[in-house]
Symmetry: D2
Subunit: 347 residues, 4 copies
């Protein structure tokens, strides 16, 4: 194979990044002989142990392939056939999973307008209605994303308040943690503080956007809230036969502090980028930069030209808002080069 | 991490095998910088080219995570909401996917008793009925497995006859090719001869059981037979964001002859094992050994004791039939050690 | 409207029959003023009372539109998202509901060859397997039809044995009772004896084939076995807004003995027909005539000619087997005319 | 049975009304002898003819049981497995069908805030996005309700503009016509003018709320826009076996002008009620009264007391808004009595 040496490090998404060398090394390390398939292997057993260390003794880990898979398995495990899930309008499950929650799980999503991507107990109160009425899909889950799709972070108290609001109504709290490491880094707290201890019932733990080749996990924090996760993972086509190779990647993140180093770096790069961009006349940073994403208004023609050199997405066509995401492998020079190009473009 | 050095090479399944070193090397080779996500990367583009080389100019490749995923995406693309799929009772989609075809795709499976795991045009004629009758799920696909779950191989003429039987009825032919490489090796034919040229419409191409870490592909051979594969892959949670790392593995198999070397070796090891076992009194080989699996009757207590040293499955509890599967990484000494143990056990 | 006076009374199916005059009268009787919708009306309340009288104090009744609806709501209430249902190959849910169980409920059906349409504990033992194995859809329900699609009837002891076999495995017993009244009449037992008291968990109670315009009911005999019936009925599109008009029909059957009179008559007509036909040279009655259906082998060309005057279906094209079904409104002269024509045809 | 003579005629919903005597008479008229099941009967054939008279020569009619059934069959016929449907937030398919569209069809609903219950081309433009992007469920249908759940009516030009907006994007236009007769009466136009001629592709034609016992129909106006309606009706549990009795009811409405008489009367009663209520101090009519529903703000405690005598629903708890619906069988004296009670209550 003769693939050209590989792209610029752009700002399109943290899923365009490469794989951290320690993760590749972990794959090589487990590549010895045969192992039981489907998770009955020692690598996965070790992962379970490490996950309990991070999330508490009741935590159960189910490695899966991707974030959509983690979310849809989690939501199925938390719901009945007649359930609804309350989520922000901007939730990945609502906007970017090609309707998988509805299609695979038959779930009704109740999307809630939430300008900064965060739900509140008041919004839950307003949108989770119709309990007991057979005309209404029954609200069963509040689903939040941490850090959010809009680059914001729920403080622990807000998550805890949402958990309380959910539990009061007999609902569960699901956290889409595709970037939960970035949130933990931003809050400077252990993973457990913003999940288990805040009342989250099930976490979709993200690895791919934090340096893995691929690999996420459904982490059940409250086993009383779920049913049939193992069967759902398989029937939802998320059960890896050679699971040790997924588990090894997750272990590479979680056994030491790679998860945190990677996330801290990405967050720092986003702050650096936001800082530089904010100083460029004609650029308006539109949202708090709390994790690894920066949202900004820039003139569309400037965006067009910049995109020739640096990958990034337009987030909101109407508003002219763009999104820049930093990764574990974003370098200071990548940020500085982009900031310089931005300044030159708008200068 | 300190995982013990790794298991014996047993005969439980080719999905308990390790990853071929050339595949790990391919992962490292593409691990440079950022690349577009979701398949818009040069590695995946190169894979598409290579797949066309193997399967013909109309072939389209959609990398996915696992075999169940490949099958369910393929079947959805070939069916309507009211369709049925005719398959052998022993088909993986019927027995080992936790009902994913029914659950995810809403498909009715029509399982056909087929003692050696192979369908025939006569069986299709008998089981594909009720066309036009709204009380009946409409037969839309004939699904066969190559090589079969019972270790047998469809000669090209049989596949072609099934394709004709399907097409005459307005149905399509799907091939679950989790072990299609083993079939090609057994038949000593290029992949195209037993798929595209035999009239197969869509192939689930298997990589995981042939030396990958994980990775399969929906290979559309007849684009006129399918609808919406790209959307179905995503909504069925089978779209890898960092797809270059799945594509690179598939490329490692298909760009050269690794797919064939691996499959030939596994088949040869199965023949070696069958030959040795057949000579042991008290062992009855129950099925033709045409690919990489050996089925045999041995006394249950002997099986029980052997299993303490070598992993393998009982296939049919009632009959006392066991299954031994060989892999790309099964060594002659593994086979010989097992055969010796078998002889000692039954001697 | 000027529709011609209406067909011969043929033998195609009891769902081609008319509506019993007492049922039409019951509709007129409840047609006064407004009533709460969706079942909160006094007619439905009275039905609940009457159903408890027939089936025991724990029985709950959920009127629905049709038999497929009753079956699919019942099966959903008895299963999880990863469940399988063991049923005879000839079960209506398997052969004549256009895949609704799979499509609507995502259930895997495990069809069991059962020559006379009846399951046995041995067959359950053989086909309900894989408990706890995530690769397998988990067997959750045994579904039987009473009287069967082949005109046979389960004696109470056989039903009880199946209930025991199901319950031992943590499964439930569902009875498709589209013709349960015919079975009760044949066994000369109260409804409760062959359902609740025999260990059935949920019954699909059939009305349409026994003289209603339309109307069936999910009758929950063991409330501990189900979840969410009310929500499932609505989300499965089986909740009538003007429910009093469905309930009134079911009441017309069940408040007095209309259900039994109708069923007895239909059964008697089938016996009369079988008796007459058995005496015709060239006719072979192929199955025990235990309820209201007669199966017979007759020469295909004779069948073809007879069908010009009397509606009936060929059941098995290959075998040349036909089916004759009698209804509450089949008259002795209808049977005698048909028998005479049959004799003349084959004389 | 001894059900008490029947309720007051309240204002809770037109589905709490009785059955029009002409409809009951039509049932009796077709109750002669046997007829082919599943729609192959002369009553249904005649209905098809009459429907073509109303909706144009290409119109096809599929009788079903209820409105949710009509909507979900229609939407399935118009969509693929990866489709989204754009509808107003207040749409019955979004709020009152227990998630059936998502659960049964796997469709993603995109609910659009629309204060008066009506979509516009601008809203379609804003919410139907992501065409071709595999991360997004693909917008395939615009679904509107006529008359709307908020008692408003789309003028023909608005429907035509929505049809154009849908068709431009390769989407279809579905009309939930649970109360389409009320809309036609309000607009004083033939049914065809506001459906077929305005570009509607499929209509859910409502009968139950306009005087039937039960019975709706999927009316396909543009056969090129749909696939598999007959199979979808059966697999969605909406195929009546004794269909002549559903068809006869629809015929009773449509063969003469009963549909229009009933609708006009209900609309007139709503206007009478609105007129009377508007004159009561403390009552604020909140929406245009264009069909048979009146929305008003009244003090919650007054609502509570009035409800003891007259059935009606609170529409919006927060706002204190109530809804009063009139039916074909609402009498002037019912309206006047209610208006008097309202005045007395608030006087």
């Amino acid at each position: 194979m003769n693939i050209e040496a590989g792209g610029e490090r752009g700002f399109a998404s943290d899923n365009q990044a490469s794989v951290h060398p320690e993760v590749l090394a972990a794959l090589a390390a487990v590549n010895t002989g045969h192992q039981p398939a489907y998770g009955d292997d020692p690598v996965t057993a070790r992962l379970a142990e490490v996950v309990r260390g991070h999330f508490g003794e009741r935590a159960e880990v189910y490695p899966v392939f991707n974030g959509t898979g983690a979310n849809v398995v989690a939501l199925q495990a938390l719901t009945q056939r007649w359930s609804a899930v309350v989520c922000p309008e901007s939730a990945h499950i609502n906007t970017d999973e090609c309707g998988a929650a509805e299609k695979i799980a038959g779930i009704k999503l109740i999307p809630v307008p939430a300008p900064d991507g965060r739900l509140t107990p008041e919004l839950v109160d307003r949108y989770a209605t119709g309990f007991g009425n057979p005309q209404r899909a029954q609200p069963a889950v509040v689903s939040i994303t941490q850090s959010t799709e809009l680059g914001t972070v729920y403080p622990v108290a807000e998550t805890a308040a949402l958990a309380a609001a959910a539990h009061e109504r007999g609902m569960s709290l699901h956290m889409d943690g595709a970037r939960v490491a970035n949130a933990a880094a931003a809050l400077d707290l252990p993973l457990r503080a913003l999940t288990t201890d805040a009342g989250v019932d099930v976490l979709s733990f993200g690895g791919t956007k934090n340096g893995l080749l691929l690999g996420e996990a459904v982490v059940v924090l409250n086993p009383d809230a779920v049913r049939g996760v193992g069967f759902l993972r398989k029937s939802s086509m998320q059960l890896a036969s050679k699971m040790r190779y997924v588990s090894a990647q997750l272990l590479a993140l979680l056994e030491g502090d790679l998860w945190l180093r990677n996330a801290r770096h990405a967050n720092a790069m986003a702050r650096r980028l936001a800082g530089a961009a904010a100083g460029v006349p004609g650029v308006e940073i539109t949202r708090p930069v709390e994790a690894n994403a920066v949202f900004a208004l820039i003139p569309p023609d400037a965006a067009e030209r910049l995109r020739k050199r640096f990958a990034f997405y337009t987030w909101d066509e109407r508003a002219g808002e763009v999104r820049w995401v930093c990764s574990f492998d974003t370098r200071e020079e990548d940020v500085d080069a982009f900031a310089a190009a931005l300044a030159a473009e708008l200068g």
